[in-house]
Symmetry: C2
Subunit: 277 residues, 2 copies
Amino acid sequence: MKNMVTEFYAPMGNLWGLEMKEKLHNEKTEYQHIEMYDTAHFGKVMLIDGCMQLTTYDNFLYHEMMTHPVLFTHPNPLNVAVIGGGDCGTLQQVLLHPDVKTAKQIEIDKRVTELAELYFPELCTSNKDSRAELIFGDGIAWMRAQPASSLDVIIVDSTDPVGPAEGLFNYAFYQSCLKALRPNGLLVQQSESPLFHLELMRSMRSAMHDAGFTQSHTLLYPQPCYPSGWWSCTIAGREGDIKKFREADAEKRSFKTRYYSPAIHRAALANPPFMLK
Amino acid sequence: MKNMVTEFYAPMGNLWGLEMKEKLHNEKTEYQHIEMYDTAHFGKVMLIDGCMQLTTYDNFLYHEMMTHPVLFTHPNPLNVAVIGGGDCGTLQQVLLHPDVKTAKQIEIDKRVTELAELYFPELCTSNKDSRAELIFGDGIAWMRAQPASSLDVIIVDSTDPVGPAEGLFNYAFYQSCLKALRPNGLLVQQSESPLFHLELMRSMRSAMHDAGFTQSHTLLYPQPCYPSGWWSCTIAGREGDIKKFREADAEKRSFKTRYYSPAIHRAALANPPFMLK
């Protein structure tokens, strides 16, 4: 067997691994354990507390789907906040939208971003964009401190709901988000695997509604390096119909995407019968 | 590390594994090496020549998507042939369509079906349906021997295009299929991972067109136990528009599905920009 970097997802007894060329970095930060490897076919991979966060090869799927659907659902997103997202890939996709005026990234662990700048420089090309602001601190506290009605879109691009990210999946955080959003504002959050984590999705969406969001919908997309290879994000809002989006604007977007398109956006909105049950 | 049953997909240096409870069966047949395991969370898993073929837990995704899209695309499928499909899960889904009059399964290796009857009995519940015929033999020769214009739908549910299945991915086989199909007949074939096997898809579709199919389209769906967790099937035909389907019939289908629905069918038709390029 070749030398492998692996992740074992214990609740489903599921192993995933990538053939490794070399270990590039290993560090216990104030918040978590970060590892970086060079792989044989997936480029670089970053692990946090043993969980694969992203690879060079397949991160476009996740980053495009965490950003373009919500930004084309909002009628006119000007002020965007990314909670987490330390690898800067989400921020980069947000800033492809020329109408976005400010994009703030609030990452708790500065080392994630410093390592991304070193090992995923292609994701960090917008970090010095004049519309970008990189803030290092607690996203929960940051959100609580925001002026009411100051944001159009909040993107919660976090690790799994254990450890530092646990507080991003509950009622209190969603209440802060709702207050910080303008009335037509939208929240989007990574919501794990539709196959493995239906119960988490249910409880997230229930907490979103308890906090005052009147609509929520889960979008599906492939993401090989996450457990089951099938992932999701959940959009929540109060106005309009969050299953409708600016299809014409998405069609004539000024930037290139590899996975996102209006057809893929419509496709991602479809939820299979086993989820609807 | 727990005891694992693993598959290493060498071209992408990608390991996938399931926590194992016990090895149930190990056999070298005339055609291939079949292994069967009981897993901790995915039920049973069958491997052929080291490649995972199906698990109890997630085979519904593949089996529903290999059958219902093509059967609801055809205007009136009466006579269906399944090439390969020895686990009988595809045959079972085909026979859920009450209008299907005959469904023949042509599997080269009788041991696959005998082991499926033992370890996946829930997939074999339609094997004794009066419309079903289980034939054990070479699907390529069988197809060549069919009367012209005798089939409505051909489903190629095979292993990867190496070993016994190699001859199912080429011009000569597609020519036999085209001859056996009625003019409005449809062929559907599993076409590997959109992420890992774009070149294979291209060459399949090119061979289909060379053989006389005038239309082909690839549908996408998740399948955790296959490399990349993201899989596809390609439909080919000569009449109508193969991207259109009997949506009303699909909506009021008389049987339960866990993944398939008209919305999921429409979603599966969407191909991302990186595939279209």
